[in-house]
Structures are given as C-alpha cells and as structure tokens.
Amino acid sequence: MGLLNFLKKIEPDKEKSPMLHTVYDGFFTFAYAPNTVTKGGVHIRDGMDLKRTMVMVVIALQLCYLFGTYNIGHQHFVALGQHTSFFSAIHLKIAYGLIKIIPLFVISNLVGLGIEFFYAAKRGHAIEEGYLVSGALIPLIMPPDLPIWILILSIAFAVIIGKEAFGGTGMNILNIALLARVFVFFAYPTTISGDSVWVSGIAEGVSNYGWWHMGFFNGIFEAFGWTLFESGASVIDSFSGATPLSLAKAGWDNVLLHYSESEMLWGAIPGSIGETCKPFILVGALMLIVTGIASWRIMFSMFFGAVVCSLLLNAWGANPFMEVPWFYQFYMGSFFFAMAFMATDPVTAASTDRGKWIYGFLIGFIGMIVRVLNPAYPEGWMLAILLLNVFAPLIDHYVLEGNVKRRLKRAKVAETT
C-alpha cells in the first residue's frame, strides 16, 4: 500500500496540468486497476477490460519477437558467409538482432503513444489502449534496416491521419499497423521492396559495426572467450537476399534452389522481422483463438479463401508462379502473420459473424491474386486487408439489411396468419 499512497500523492492536478494528468493516469491505471464501481446498469462487471485484451495480443506476439530478433542476426551472418548454420554463434545473432529491434520497438511506442497521450489530453479522455497492439505489431512488419526517421514519419501518419482524425481508438477505418507500412511502401519504396532490404547490414556490401557491437557486446563476449563481431567482412558472391516470393516468379523449383522447405517453414529466411516463423505465429494465433480475442471465423475463412484462390491459379497454371502447388504458397511470405494479427483487428474487420466469413474469404482470395498475378507487389496481404478494411462496413451493411428484411418478413407472415 506504500506505493499506492506514494502514487496518489504525486498525482498532478487535472485542471492545472491536463497533459501531465493524462500521462499520469495512463501509467497509474496500468499499475493499479482503478477503484471505480459500477453505477446504474449492471452491478457486477466482467474481469475483462480493454487493457487485458490488448496485452493478450502483445503476449501472443512474443514468440515472433523472439524469433524475429534472432533471425535478423542469422540472415545478416548468412549473407556474410559466417556462422551459416542456424544454431552457431547464437550470442552474436541475438546481439545483432537486439541492436536492430530495440530502437524500432522503442521508437514505435514512443511516437505512437506520445501522439495518443497528446490527443487524449486534448480531448480530456483517458488514454485508450489501442496503440499497445499497433506499437508491438509495427516493428514486426518492417524490414530490419528501416531508417528510424521513416519509421517515425510512418507512425505519425498512421496514428494521426488513420486514427485520431477519425476519433481515436475504436473509430479508425484502416488497420493502423498496416497503414504505417503502406505509407512506407508508397512513400519510400526503396526501403521496403527489392531483394536487398530484407537482410540487415548488407546494403554497402561490407559489414560495418558500430560502438554497440564492437565496444559493448564484443567487450562482454571477449570476457567469455566467445566469437566476436568483426567489421570488414564482405557479402558472399552467391548471396542475393531475395525472398522466396520473388524467387517463386520463376517457379517453385527456383525457390528450392535457395531455401529448403524446412527453412521456409521455420522461418530462417529473409523477410519482414516477425513474419517468417510460421509455427510460432500459429502458436500465437491459437492462443488468440482459444482466449476468444481474435475471430477464428476470419482466420479460417481467410485461409480458405487463399486455398481456393491458389487452387484456381493452379488449375489455370499460365506461368510458373501460378503452378506453385497451393500448399507451398503458405510456406512463403507473410500469410499467417497477416491472418493471425492483421486481418483479425476487431475495429477494422467486419463486425457481424456472417460478415467476418465474407471479409476473411475475400482477403484470402484477393491477397493471393495480388501476390501471384501482380508483378509489382511481391506480397498481397497488406493491400488486400486494407482494401477489405474499407469494404468491411459495406459487408456489415448488407448483413444487417438481411436482418432487417428477415424481421419485416416475419412481421408480414404474422399479419397474414
């Protein structure tokens, strides 16, 4: 209780400094569930609240963070031709990954939450928790070498234009995390497309480490007698950095020349930070389904839609990409990540059960079309989800109209009998 008393004592005045109070309130309600009691309406409330909901998603993402961090380092060293076995030089790969991912994560949350705090204070609202999830998702869907200033710009754009302009958490039409990514995608395409951006630290062709690597971590590793970071190693000739999806344009056999099936399944391939390891994503997806936080309907129908579309493409088979067997389509790219964490965002998805089936199916179907039939965009889920985000209210509208019509029909039947 000592801490509680202390926190209560330092509470800023709401009238005099609303900004400070909002921030304080945000952190205080994080530390302590508030003492508000029910008033009017129900007298007891479910133990579930939005904080818990959001944090559950963040927890479901943790395995992706774990693997993503490691994979940044792993891909980096594979490109240099060093420690190419997955489990060699684990400490170097983790250290390298951490140096990359921590700034992304910290900046993402600082900028996004900062904007949220600002608008919450301005509106006199409590801080809504929506950004907790967006802030955790955004680093995972970016390439590891994304310049920080671009990250800041994209998040500011997504949160201000995509969310606050519409009224804050719960009101946005487009998925915030994807909006940030699509901003980078169209404004700074060279940082997020092509073959060379998905592997960290190879842009100059030579490894070039900074103080954190050479000073901080090398110092620690030296004490243990482990292998050290060495600047000056150059990228091996045979390395291209191409993702399986860009290789698949020349057919599945071409993909297999570079990556084995198990590498693709487990995620030891270049790509956005969190998207590569399918089993870990599915563990997160399963957690969300079991806890009932994400809609299994959307996940299932999106999978189904992608399967149907790839079967159709298989049957058509006009080019080598179309002939990639349908189940191998799921070994490549970010399908599962988009399915588990992006399409299921409750605010931007369809809100009726029947609408969710349609919404998910169309994402799966259209996303696969973009992936396979459009040479300009190697992956389709981002665009497909944003497109269906826009159409979700329309889908819901028709589902609701159906409900209204059913009710009218019932009334008519009742009248005639």
Binding site: G41, R45, M48, A126, T291, L400
Partner: protein, 547 residues
C-alpha cells in the same frame, strides 16, 4: 446462393482433378482409363447421395403429415449437427416445443439460499414507488395524505395521463410518508403495516358470464391491472389494447434468482385462476416458458397448467428472460403489443378471484455472500430493505440491490424493493485499487472471457463485488454481445443506431424486442464497459415518445 457455392466447389475440384489427369497423361499408362474410372466413381457417389437425401426428405414429410413431428424427435435419416453437440434433455421435458439456446452465460455466484424453507419476514414498512412504472408522469396524483389509514388494495395514486389504472396499497396501515425525489417528483408512498392485515372488500366477478370489458374494468378498479406489463417498452399495459399474446416465464435464469418452484408451492390454485383470466384478455395465446435445464421437473403447477401453450427452454442465462422467450415463440414486430407477467403477479391477479382480496404477498429471495443466511422470506410487495435484512449480517460498504446483480436497481438501506422484484441481492462494494488487477487478478472473478481460467471450471462459484474492473472505452471488440444474447439481433449495431438516433435502423434492428434485462448480460460481458441498459432505455424512451 448455396447452390452457387456447391457449383464453385465442384468446379475447383474438377479443374484440379482434370489438371492432375492431364499431367499424368504425359507419363505412362492409358490416360482415358483414369478419367473414365474417376468419372464413374463420382457419378456413383452423387447417385447414392441423391437417393439418401430423397429418402431422408420423404421420412420427414411423412412424419409431418402424420403429425408426430413435434420438433423434439428427429425423424430424418441423419442426426442433426445440433443434436450431436447439444446437451441431453432431462426426461421430464415433454409436451410442448423445446427451444435450444446456445448463446448466453450463467454467472454462478455464492450466496444462494440452501433450502426451500420460507420464513416469515418481520417487515413493518412498505412502499409503492411511482418510478417503478416506466412511462408514468413524474408527479402522479397521490390520493392519500400522510396519516391516512389505508387497507390493502386501497388506491394510493394514479397517473394523470392514464387515470383509469389504479395503483393500490400492498398492505393495510398508516401512510407515514410521501417522499419526493428530484424536481418534486413522487419517489415513494410509504405505508406502516398494521399487525393484522385489513383488506379492501372485493366484489366477486363471474368469469364465465362477465365480458372482457367488464373484466378489464374490474382489474383496473382493484389494482390488479398494474401487474401486467406491455412490450415494447415494458410499460404498464394499456387498458384499450388487446394483446397479440401473453407471455409468462416460469423460471429466472439470472444470478442468484429465486427458484419459482419454491415460490409457487401451495399457490397453484391462484396461479391457474390467473392464467384463466389472462386467457380472457387476449385473442392470442398465453405462453408459459418452462425450464428445460434443471434435473428436477418444474413444479406441477407449471407443467399441469391448463389453457396455455407450453414452451421449454434449454440454455444458459438469459434463457429465462421473457423477452428471449417471446423472440423464439412469436416475436414482436413493429406495431405489435404483447403483455408479460411474472409468476407472482399472475398469482396476485388470480388471488383476487380465489381469495376475494388484493393479496400482494411475495416470496422474496434474500441472496448474496454478504448475508449471514441467504433465504426465502414471505412478505408483501415493496418491502423495506432494512427490515428484510435485519439480523442477517453486519453490512459495511455493501450495496443492496432490488432484483439481480445484472438488471436490478441499487437501493439505500432505507429503500424499498421495487414493485416487480422478488429478489434482494447484497454484494460488496468494490471501491479498492488492485495492483496489476487487470493483468494478474489476485482473486477469482466471474468472467465470460477465456483469458481467465474460469472456463475450465464451469461449476465454480464466485464472489463478486461492484468494482468495474476497468474503465469505459469505445466499442472495440465485436461479436461479444451477440454471443451473450440468444436472439436474432445485433446488439452492438442497435446500440450504435440508438446513440446516433437513427429511428429507422433502431426499428429495423429490433429494438421493440428488447428490454433492459435482455442486454444486461451483454453489458456485464462488455470489454469496453459500455452502459448498454442505459443506452437501450434511452432508445426505447425516444421511440415511445415518437409514438
């Protein structure tokens, strides 16, 4: 639509199939052979499926024509998917339709009375509260003054808008207060009960010979009319209306709700009489909703009731809500008016005839963990909270609720039970801070969310308090309300249409079919802590004023 999907699936299947066949044709073997054999196989499968489907349909049609298809037994060839998953029905469920409601949730709380014993409560003051009657003008005409002596059944006040409906005293005694609330509205008319009850004389009424108009006038005159509620809006029934149907739910599935089998014991005659009267009031039917959940058969008063249509409801709360039952039996469309009554209200109406007096006797459950002994007590309508809970616990920082914890109304210690309530719940106030309470709760709490381990222990009972467990937020989660309301209604979209005052949408999405108690469970489960009952009531009020 369905046909289209089948065709599409078949096309995809066929295309891939053809694909692999043509692929094989480049290799060895006779390609046409594969193709023909597979075609024959597919044709054979389709043929068998068609035969099975036709015979299944024929059996169903036959059963329907013979009139044996009562909706309980499946006469088709295949088991219905629902049959496999739904819970087994108890044996005593027979006669009438059965409705299986999947959605909803039972909130199990500590503090239910252990036995069926009914004690006499020593309550000295009773009150009739105008705010209990929705739509009544805030300042009704009070016809008694402080200090007047009244008998049970004497008129206390009436609504100036509808003066024919008389609101009568539940007990005999002295009017000791006419308390006023905000803006001089009448909050309660309090009567100090005599030791010996004196009843107002009631002229006998011949149900066989009397006309409907006479019956209505009779019920109005003796105060029994106020027992009848009318939907939409849950107002006291309009005397000029002939209701489409009348609905009575014989069980209450709300948390800690009284067991109506206990309530009705020994009062079967009055209940049946009440049903007979109601039958005379409607051109439609009187529907009785029976409990198909319990292992024990409902009281014979219910199962043997005559002149009524019986429906069984299987499923979690809110299956006992009359609104949910109406939705499944004969739902309310725009313009429809139906009446609903509670079991004890029916008994009071019946007692007017069987006993010849206005008998507002109520069996009330005193429930909640904060009470020393939760129990059933016998008292009258509008009993004083303090008297009811006397010597039954030391109440510090608790909330007295007239009704259940979901849709009840909070009362002060000196307050009175509401007119239609037969339950007093006492719960602890939850005005405490909890460190990381939202993430790592220190003690178990009821929840429908599977982020708590609750769903692994379906029979676990909880102690609940009034902490809100979070703050109000915008609507974020979807599908949550739908899973708590077993009706073909989209509560979240309805709520949004109410907030933006879209009348057409409200009507279209079925606002007439709902009352506060139906969305109470949605409100409990709401992640965003939205006040759904309040929103719905505002919507209903707006619609009522629009006419």
């Amino acid at each position: 639509m369905k046909n289209g999907i089948t065709k599409l699936a078949f096309l995809i299947f066929f295309l891939n199939f053809a694909h692999s066949v043509t692929a094989q044709s480049s290799g060895e073997g006779d390609p046409s052979n594969y193709f023909i054999v597979s075609l024959i196989a597919v044709a054979a499968i389709i043929l068998i499926a068609v035969i099975l489907m036709i015979s299944d349909n024929l059996m169903r049609i036959e059963a329907k024509q013979l009139g044996v298809d009562d909706g309980i037994v499946n006469y088709g060839l295949f088991p219905k998917i629902n049959d496999i998953f739904r819970s087994k029905l108890p044996k005593h469920v027979k006669g009438g339709k059965v409705f299986f409601l999947k959605r909803g949730h039972n909130i199990l709380l500590e503090g239910k009375p252990s036995g069926n014993n009914i004690e006499d409560a020593q309550v000295s003051t009773f009150a009739l509260q105008p705010p209990n009657f929705i739509g009544m003008s805030p300042i009704p005409k009070v016809v008694v003054e402080k200090g007047d002596e009244v008998k049970a059944g004497d008129v206390l006040f009436f609504d100036k808008k509808r003066p024919e409906i008389k609101y009568v005293s539940p007990v005999s005694g002295e009017v000791i207060a006419v308390n006023r609330g905000a803006k001089r509205s009448i909050a309660e008319v309090v009567v100090l009960k005599d030791k010996e009850m004196k009843y107002r004389d009631v002229k006998p009424f011949d149900l066989e010979k009397g006309s409907r108009e006479d019956l209505v006038a009779y019920l109005l005159e003796y105060g029994a009319w106020s027992m009848i509620q009318q939907r939409p809006y849950n107002i006291v029934a309009e005397p000029g209306v002939t209701p489409k149907n009348i609905f009575i739910s014989t069980f209450d599935s709300a948390p800690l709700a009284p067991d109506n089998n206990t309530v009705v014991a020994g009062r079967g005659k009055a209940f049946q009489k009440g049903l007979d009267i109601l039958n005379k009031l409607t051109d439609g039917k009187v529907y009785l909703g029976l409990d198909a959940n319990s292992k024990h058969a409902p009281s014979e008063v219910f199962t043997n009731a005559k002149g009524v249509e019986k429906n069984w409801f299987n499923g979690p709360h809110p299956s006992g809500n009359v609104g949910v039952q109406i939705h499944h039996t004969a739902s309310i469309s725009a313009g429809d008016k139906v009446w609903t009554l509670g079991v004890q209200e029916v008994i009071t109406i019946g007692a007017l005839f069987t006993e010849g007096r206005y008998n507002s006797e109520r069996i009330v459950t005193l429930a909640g963990k904060e009470l020393d002994i939760p129990k059933y007590v016998k008292t009258y309508q509008g009993a004083n909270v303090k008297d009811l809970t006397a010597d039954n616990g030391s109440f510090e920082n608790v909330r007295f609720i007239s009704g259940d914890v979901l849709s009840g109304q909070s009362k002060s210690e000196n307050g009175f039970l509401n007119f239609f309530d037969d339950q007093l719940t006492v719960v602890k106030e939850g005005d405490y801070y909890e460190m990381f309470g939202w993430l790592l709760p220190l003690k178990p709490r009821p929840s429908v969310s599977r982020t708590f381990p609750n769903f692994l222990f379906p029979n676990q009972k909880f102690t609940a308090d009034t902490n809100a467990h979070g703050e109000k937020r915008a609507f974020v989660m979807t599908g949550q309300y739908e899973s708590m309301l077993p009706m073909d209604i989209f509560p979240q979209h309805l709520m949004k249409s109410i907030i933006v005052n879209d009348f057409e949408r409200m009507e279209g999405l079925g606002i007439y079919e709902l009352s506060e108690e139906d969305v109470a469970l949605c409100e409990f489960a709401c992640t965003s802590k939205q006040p759904l009952q309040k929103i719905l009531r505002e919507g209903l009020d707006v619609m009522r004023e629009q006419g």
